[in-house]
Symmetry: C2
Subunit: 219 residues, 2 copies
């Protein structure tokens, strides 16, 4: 609504052809994600975003319509980014990979994203509940896509018998993803190297915490 960049960057040959402002736009989004995760939706002030991005509060309005517009962009990239990462991790597997391994790859990828860029990516996961209904609506659509993707992985694995089928696939998914998502809330000191964390998570999720046979599933 504000910007009207009549001309794209003069030379598109260089290395990437970034419209001059597009770059700071990204900086702002990254900054906003950081503040959002730390302060929550309502606690995110434009002045904080601006400071984090290295400019003045008023300048934000050159790049975005208003506060919610910024939030919107963050959320959109958040889940979209995770979906891409997870999907490409799964598709990177050899052609005939077993459904169980595809699920494992998804689990690891999901956790990796959270641990790596805990800002931009995990923002969407944690803010959902406190968002104003309107934003929540728009955003839920994107998140549903992600849920659907997982749903496919899980039901497939259940059908070919590689994972237990006695639990509703939706709940199973929510329990598993939830366990991973909560890692974003862990105090930094308790976290370990990504590969260790992934290994532990996988071990618990696939095999459980019971040692060997002690189980006792029937109660």
């Amino acid at each position: 609504m504000a910007a009207n960049p009549t001309a794209r960057p003069a030379r598109s040959a260089g290395r990437r052809a970034l419209p001059k402002s597009e770059a700071t736009r990204e900086r702002i989004i990254a900054a906003a994600a950081h503040v959002l995760v730390e302060r929550g939706y309502a606690g995110t002030k434009l002045s904080d975003i601006a400071e984090q991005a290295g400019l003045q509060a008023g300048s934000l309005y050159y790049h975005f319509d208003d506060r919610d517009d910024i939030v919107d962009q963050v959320l959109r990239r958040s889940v979209r980014g995770i979906l891409q990462r997870v999907r490409s991790a799964v598709e990177a597997l050899p052609a005939g990979a077993r459904s169980f391994d595809r699920l494992r790859a998804a689990i690891v990828a999901h956790l990796e994203v959270i641990l790596e860029s805990s800002d931009v990516s995990s923002a969407g996961l944690r803010l959902m509940s406190q968002l104003p209904p309107e934003i929540q609506r728009r955003y839920r659509r994107i998140q549903r896509d992600y849920g659907d993707y997982w749903h496919g992985l899980i039901t497939t694995a259940q059908q070919d018998g590689s994972i237990r089928a006695d639990i509703d696939p939706v709940r199973l998914r929510l329990f598993v993803i939830g366990q991973l998502n909560w890692v974003a809330e862990w105090p930094r000191p308790t976290r370990g190297p990504i590969d260790e964390m992934a290994g532990d998570a996988l071990a618990i999720i696939t095999d459980g915490i019971a040692s060997g046979a002690t189980t006792g599933r029937s109660e």
Copy 2:
């Protein structure tokens, strides 16, 4: 700091002897918890709390010093309540209960609290990250007690071999509790009856999602 109830309620015989105002104080705390969970820390306005509690914003100051005082009370009760519930659930077991069963009882109790009073109880769990450092500090002490209690349950079970010992007890705890905590974020429709939810959670946590032997722990 404001109130100075010179006289306790005249008759203490009745049924409970509630200092007249003590009752509304509780209403306010419950209301605040509700708003906090829905809007986040910064998004919680006094006017919302007041409305939810059935009085005017200004009236809140008769019962509390300021906004943060209210938040403080909510958080304090939140984790304190969960600890009590979980502890009493564990202690309700027969004297010589196996460590594994004690852990199971804790898992179920923790989940139950979240599912029942998703407001007051889960408030503390979800707000931690977005709280201003000062409040966070005071509050972390209480939460540490809760973590310690779990730590005891887990290390004991690891030592007597009833649960796997190849995963750091702290991480094991965080993964398990995290999985349960995230249930508070589930959309209502996806949740089921408490006992079903508890059964599923227990099954996944203890036995994992892999079907029988397919495991593949080594990678």
